[in-house]
């Protein structure tokens, strides 16, 4: 089966119902995308499918033909962090950090669709779980990106 990950076509020999998460982690060694629950409840496995945030642990590979898959590994361009990633560092968001790949992918997608989401929209769309409880700093980092978006358009 052929999939496009981070702009590169990859051929993988797997069952059509294998979830994307495990193709990424075990077949392509892209381990930045994390396994948390396997039932789309925690968001640790969030990647982008044609720019939209999706939970890869329940996404069968067969459904992904011809679609562009983006993982956390390709968010920084030539070692230059994205606005969201930089805000995450400036606000010292990560603790254990395990959920943050998925968290960042969810937030990147939120901003890609809407550069000025309201607080309600943020609360509604970022339903990822962080067991370390970094939510306050996530909110602060998101606020900073919002401000930057306002300034830079």
């Amino acid at each position: 089966m052929k999939i496009n990950v981070n702009g590169i076509d990859r051929e993988v020999d797997v069952e059509p119902n294998m979830p994307l998460l495990w193709v990424l982690r075990d077949e392509l060694n892209l381990t930045g995308t994390k396994y948390g629950c396997g039932v789309a409840a925690c968001g640790a496995c969030t990647v982008h499918l044609d720019g939209q945030a999706v939970r890869s642990c329940v996404l069968p590979i067969a459904a992904l033909q011809g679609k562009a898959i983006t993982t956390i590994e390709s968010i920084a361009k030539d070692d230059r962090l994205s606005r969201v990633q930089q805000a995450w560092i400036d606000h010292q968001v990560p603790q254990c950090g395990y959920c943050q790949s998925g968290m960042i992918m969810a937030v990147e997608s939120l901003f890609a669709n809407n550069s000025q989401p309201s607080e309600e929209e943020i609360d509604a769309s970022i339903s990822n779980i962080c067991r370390c409880g970094t939510y306050q700093r996530i909110k602060e980092a998101i606020k900073e990106v919002l401000t930057q978006n306002q300034e830079n358009g």
């Binding site: 797997v14 069952e15 495990w22 409840a41 603790q95 254990c96 409880g133 939510y135 306050q136 996530i138």
Partner: protein
């Protein structure tokens, strides 16, 4: 009267022992030649520090002037890699970005003496000396009990200062100048007379031959440039780019993946697999391993292994546990509560007499359920077993247990076990257990020569956890009309965490029931002036596997005690803050913390209709924390936690930014448990399995947390756990203030309260 050494003095002595023994100072601990008597024998292998010169067991300098710092503490989000590196950087005069953290092997210099002696009240006790020796002999490499900074605060500075002196001595000889003409700065020794400078890296080969000073002069606090200043963590970049490597991310040539299915009945055993041939025929499956508690399928991909493990059908021996239920355990707890206290740990004056002379007597009972850890990274461990050696890649809080368990299960000498400790995707006490390491080794030894990564599914992680115990408490207090408490009794019942956990991990060290120091922690030695006291605990037995859960005994005793204090305030018709303040000694650290939280929360200011506040105060792990929860609640019991005001006195501190993060983290952890947390068991089976039915706090629920750190010059306290205990009672006390409903058992969802 013999003068007891303070904890601070104890740490100095320990640093002396370690540096003396390791570097070759000739200090003998007198353990019959076991550990430190031979000064020529290095106590560390230097594995992981190849190419660098070792100035002591901790500081290794490369020719290109990088500092490789040995840190044998688990980085599980609490920021210890950064904090310990800050301590060394301060004294060694380097920038944080010049330091690379490397987890060393399980070797004596890196023992966590503070954790090993955690429950010894004084550093002059026999128990203290015994545990101190045990710590070095094992060696006791572990992260827990919020001890990292308490253990390392002086130690990591001494290592940095001693190494700097050695570098300076070489520079003195090189330039024929006095030491006061030299300056150390950002990895250079500078000749202040000539302006010449030379890198640490070029001096290190000679410095390594210098005799180390075990008692270097440390900087005065007023001269700190790094310690105590908000500092950016050193592990952030990898954690925002996906590059940070957790145990589950280890990838090795030819590695295979294993999934586990445990016996569904707690305490039961698998006697046979009914469909082995069928499962072996599934795609990618290589091998099946079975043992009493579970079975594993090894396959070429985690998902294939998980599918195959799920397909296994077992014949089981339930060992009579098919009737085990939460209701049954609850009944056992209550029955035990109705009897005399099994182990009285605090017995001050005669409570019976004091009750008789009290104006009134008030009693209440409380209960909390079992809780799971639910680390975001499901339990996993990667192992390669070869003929006479093994290597383990794992995120773990107790590497010494990893080594012991691997050696035992693989039947090899522990010196033949190599470990590679990765980042932990959460620990909270779960990763201080060896059960999953033993399983991974058992699986890997069935295919020697092939590295195998065992990953538990979230369901296995939830249902085969080592739980925070369910517990009950009964309080009885005398109340006088002047608001004083002349008598206080508290009986806590539960199953023993120490006997369960140590019994599994390290049976030889299993304490007797009377010595479970976690059971009543947080119920003993309260700062409140309470008159006559009788406090203790009693145990029940059950097949539930128990473990250390962030803040351990404080997690339930904090809720029990601070709920009851709040009830007494109400009985005395006194404001909850004023009531507590009156019971605390004036000018005490405790009173200052309580007063501060009242101040920053504007405790005495009125709140609009539908909002209320609750206060709680708790000391744990060497720190004092007070919190005020401000909530909104409607008549339908729908509520939100809007703000939390948090004050911590953790003495001398290292990275205030981390402390603020840990307060937020501990508060979310405690709130999650208070509102949702509950593991129940029916017909021997754990009823919760994954996040949909073991619910978690989310972004939309997050209160704004305001943290204030007290400034003083006291010994450092812990910060990873102390933020958790007070928040549940602060919340339920706020609910009482708003509704008049006193919540005496958790979680809140069982009382019709709904978080919105």
């Amino acid at each position: 009267m013999a003068k007891e050494r303070t904890r601070g003095q104890k740490i100095s002595r320990r640093a002396f022992i370690i540096s003396g023994a390791v570097i070759g100072g000739g200090f003998a601990l007198g353990l019959g030649g076991v550990a430190f008597s031979n000064y020529k024998k290095k106590q560390f292998s230097g594995m992981g520090f190849e190419g660098a010169k070792s100035l002591n067991a901790f500081i290794h300098i490369t020719p290109d002037n990088k500092i490789k710092l040995a840190i044998a503490r688990a980085e599980m989000g609490q920021g210890v890699h950064t904090a310990l590196a800050m301590l060394t950087a301060e004294e060694l005069e380097v920038d944080l970005d010049q330091i690379e953290v490397i987890h060393p092997q399980v070797e004596s210099p890196y023992a966590n003496v503070n954790l090993a002696t955690h429950y010894e009240r004084t550093s002059s006790s026999t128990g203290f000396h015994f545990m101190e020796k045990v710590a070095y002999i094992l060696p006791y490499i572990a992260t827990g009990g919020s001890t990292t900074i308490r253990d390392g605060y002086e130690h990591y500075r001494i290592m940095g200062a001693s190494a700097k002196e050695m570098l300076m001595k070489v520079a003195m000889k090189k330039w024929f100048v006095d030491i006061d003409k030299l300056k150390a700065e950002k990895g250079f020794i500078i000749n202040t007379e000539t302006g010449e400078k030379v890198t640490y890296g070029s001096l290190a080969p000679f410095a390594a031959e210098e005799k180390p000073n075990n008692r270097p002069t440390l900087k005065a606090k007023s001269n700190f440039k790094i310690i105590g200043k908000p500092t950016q963590r050193i592990d952030l970049k990898g954690k925002v780019t996906g590059a940070a490597e957790y145990g589950i991310d280890v990838r090795l040539p030819n590695m295979l993946f294993a999934a586990v299915q445990h016996c569904p009945i707690t305490g039961g055993e698998i006697t046979s697999i009914m469909n082995e041939a069928e499962v072996m025929a599934m795609r990618g499956v290589k091998h099946i391993v079975q043992w009493p508690a579970g079975a594993a399928v090894i396959a070429d991909n985690t998902w294939r292994a998980q599918q195959a493990a799920k397909a296994l059908t077992f014949e089981i021996d339930s060992k009579g546990q098919e009737q085990l239920s939460s209701a049954h355990i609850s009944k056992l707890l209550k029955a035990r509560l109705d009897k005399e206290i099994g182990h009285i740990k605090e017995d001050i004056d005669d409570t019976a007499t004091a009750f008789e002379t009290s104006d009134r007597v008030f009693e209440a009972e409380y209960e909390v359920p079992f809780l799971a850890h639910a680390t975001m990274e499901p339990i996993n461990c990667t192992v390669l077993v070869e003929e006479d050696k093994a290597k383990v890649w794992v995120g773990h809080q107790a590497p010494f247990l990893v080594t012991m368990a691997t050696a035992k299960e693989a039947d090899i000498n522990s010196s033949k076990v190599e470990i590679d400790i990765k980042y932990l995707g959460g620990g909270f006490g779960r990763r201080a257990e060896n059960d999953f390491v033993t399983e991974a080794v058992r699986i890997a030894k069935s295919m020697k020569g092939t590295p195998i990564q065992m990953v538990w599914s979230r369901e296995e992680d939830t249902q085969f956890d080592t739980y925070r115990p369910a517990a009950m408490a009964r309080f009885k207090a005398g109340i006088n009309n002047d608001g004083t408490i002349p008598a206080w009794e508290n009986h806590v019942t539960l199953q023993s965490v120490l006997r369960s956990s140590i019994g599994r991990n390290f049976p030889l060290m299993t304490p007797p029931e009377s010595q479970d120091t976690t059971a009543a922690e947080g119920a003993l030695g309260l700062a409140y002036n309470l008159g006559a006291r009788k406090v203790g605990y009693s145990f029940i037995e059950s097949p539930m596997r128990l473990g250390f859960w962030r803040s351990v005994g404080h997690s339930y005793n904090g809720f029990f005690t601070e709920s009851f204090i709040d009830e007494l305030a109400n009985e005395a018709d006194t404001d909850p803050y004023a009531f507590r303040a009156k019971l605390l000694s004036s000018n005490s650290r405790q009173k200052k913390v309580l007063d501060k939280v009242a101040q920053i929360s504007n405790w005495n200011s009125p709140l609009p209709e539908g909002k209320s506040r609750g206060i709680a105060f708790h000391e744990s792990f060497g720190s004092i924390v007070a919190q005020v929860a401000e909530i909104s609640i409607n008549p339908d019991k729908e509520f939100s936690v809007d703000k939390v005001f948090c004050v911590i006195d953790c003495g001398n501190y290292v990275n205030p930014d981390t402390i603020i993060a840990q307060m937020q983290s501990g508060i979310v952890f405690g709130l999650t448990a208070a509102v949702y947390g509950e593991i129940t068991i029916e017909e021997g089976k754990i009823q919760q399995s994954n996040f949909p039915n073991y619910e978690m706090w989310k972004l939309k629920h997050m209160p704004e947390v305001f943290t204030h750190i007290m400034e003083n010059n006291e010994a450092p306290g812990g910060v990873g756990e102390p933020g958790t205990p007070p928040i549940a009672p602060a919340l339920t006390n706020a609910i009482f203030a708003a509704t008049g409903e006193r919540v005496r058992s958790l979680p809140l969802k069982n009382h019709g309260f709904k978080l919105v």
